[in-house]
Symmetry: C2
Subunit: 337 residues, 2 copies
DNA sequence: TGTTAGCACTTTGGCATGTCGAGTGCTAAC
DNA sequence: GTTAGCACTCGACATGCCAAAGTGCTAACA
């Protein structure tokens, strides 16, 4: 029994099953692929593969289907990257060009990716740590409530209402703004934390408390605000492939709605192969995604923010991975300097 | 055959069917409700109701289920408003208090409403026409690209990148900002359109083109920007009640993702009864929603922005309508002056 | 005229039964 | 290590049957 052929058999099973959504038997396999051996031999190979936990039979006399472990091996060792078609490349390029607003870019990206893959696409907001502070604005909404607005040179705007803890007049607030802006303009968002204490301590004691609160607000804006969010599209694709989620797509939708879950999942995924990370079935930490796979990769500076898709375990990994990777590249290029 | 009793029968059918999700027969009806007549009489009434197109029988020997028209009559004339439970009121109040950011409020609102009704909840961004302009900021991103930021006193921030059509220096832009802000601060967003031409015409001819572009950008921000967007939650509820969408929830998810469709639908719904608008089954202009109903109402100033839910035609209208109305009221109160 | 009782008729859904085909596992031969 | 052959298993599907639910109709009743 030759090792290479066993892998070949696994590959054939994965490909046929992905294509036909039906358990694939030994006979059909030798017919569709020219493996040069008879079905009985394949049966032996299959028995071995089953022994190793790479494939399984739904019931005694049905064909075999890949297990999560089988998909894993397929993705890691067997699959070849499928280049995108020319048409797809053009689609990516034309759709992502000609938009300037960050929200707009991300929105288009997920739509495109979901159409390209026929899966649910998600994209995380990019991190801003390298962007430079362009402008700071404080707006007094109520005696103690201040709207803090932070504008970065990359065109990103963050806002947040905070409680300054003491009554402030418009004049005092304007003074604080001038002071903050004077010291901080041009600072990268990532270094804001180091620069803030000096600014606060230079403020007259009477407004120290407010300054402290404002600094905190700015820090929050700079760090955690947007990268906790994500954009999503293509949930309808889940329903179309409802054959693939035998039980119900409910748990999957729940996971998608719990953005926290998705974001943690995305950030925890190690980028193993071909620069794309794949998490298959029960490998996912979240139970609702036991029958789903996530294909994701980073984009932008440091590849810190993620873009990817979610679909049934039974998906066309090579094509999907290629699409995700291509979209991530275009996205990096557009958002890049 | 008495008219009032016929309506009573329709009411009973709707209520039983909503409760049991099974066609309801004449015998079960007289048992569950004390109508004071025999099942044979009810059968006569049912035949009449079917004649009028208010109920229908899935097949010869099954009970009856309401038609869209039947639900319509039920909602319009029969149903009584069910007050919310004390616990529900408390839930609304506690969950919606203690948040200041608009995004946050809307986010909480949809989550709450979807949990309260077990349906998909949607809320449209509120219109801003009464809010006053607090601050305007222009940020030069590239020689011709300017980020326009509009801050209203209600704490709302809008942003957009525009092409000013001519090269501008930082100083020139600052000058324009001062001029715009000086003339427009305190203006209600709704009246921005009237005030802008005067500002533009006062600008020196050399920068007239840029001023024109900036004015257009501001106008866009003031009017159309955010109210085209909506927040959504509870899509997983669709899957749970997948019995109610026999074919597939795919088309419904598509409709929800096409925000344009939903927004048009929401804005076109007439607010008929009890201050809540209901659109039932095929009454919906969008085919994908032929088996769905939308319950919505306005909130905020002029009740211009909408909040509501989407669920299967077979839903508990009285309770749902009560929940939507209650949430809209609390929402108005929180966002109100 | 409206209501009721009774009855024949229809349809669905569950259940048992039988058959067919796909596919496996095993053994023996090559 | 590979192959052919064969018995066996299991699901999918069709068939037939029966009980339950519900209707429509007719005739009697108040």
């Amino acid at each position: 029994m030759s090792e290479p052929r066993k892998l070949e058999v696994l590959r054939a099973i994965v490909e046929d099953y992905v294509h036909s959504r039906e358990p694939v038997g030994s006979k059909a396999l030798v017919e569709r692929h020219h493996l040069g051996v008879s079905s009985a031999t394949i049966r032996n190979d299959m028995a071995a593969l089953e022994e190793e936990g790479l494939i399984t039979a739904p019931h005694t006399s049905a064909g075999r289907i890949p297990t999560d472990k089988g998909y894993r091996l397929f993705v890691d060792q067997i699959s070849a990257v499928k280049p995108l078609s020319q048409a797809e490349r053009r689609a990516i390029q034309s759709l992502l060009e000609g938009s300037d607003d960050l929200d707009d870019v991300l929105e288009r990206t997920v739509r495109l990716l979901s159409q390209l893959t026929n899966q649910v696409a998600v994209v995380q907001y990019p991190h801003l740590s390298r962007a430079l502070i362009r402008h700071i604005e404080f707006v007094l909404l109520a005696p103690r409530k201040v709207l803090v607005v932070l504008i970065a040179d990359s065109g990103k705007v963050e806002q947040r209402v905070i409680d300054v803890g003491q009554d402030l007049g418009d004049d005092a607030l304007a003074g604080l703004r001038t002071r903050f802006l004077g010291s901080l303009a041009g600072t990268p968002l990532g270094q804001l934390g180091q620069s803030l204490p000096a600014v606060v301590s230079a403020v007259s004691p009477g407004h120290r408390q407010a300054a402290q609160a404002l600094a905190q607000g700015l820090e929050l804006l700079a760090h955690s605000s947007r990268e906790d969010r994500m954009v999503m599209a293509g949930t309808a694709n889940l329903a179309r492939s409802n054959v693939d989620f035998p039980l119900s797509i409910g748990p999957v939708l729940e996971a998608l709605e719990e953005q926290v879950v998705m974001l943690r999942l995305l950030s925890e995924m190690a980028q193993d192969h071909h620069g794309v990370a794949v998490s298959i079935g029960r490998e996912n930490p979240y139970d609702g995604l036991a029958e789903a796979s996530v294909v994701a990769t980073g984009y932008g500076p440091d590849s810190a923010a993620k873009v990817g898709i979610l679909g049934p375990t039974r998906m066309d990994y090579p094509t999907t991975m290629a699409a995700v990777r291509a979209v991530a590249r275009y996205l990096s290029r557009i958002l890049g300097p």
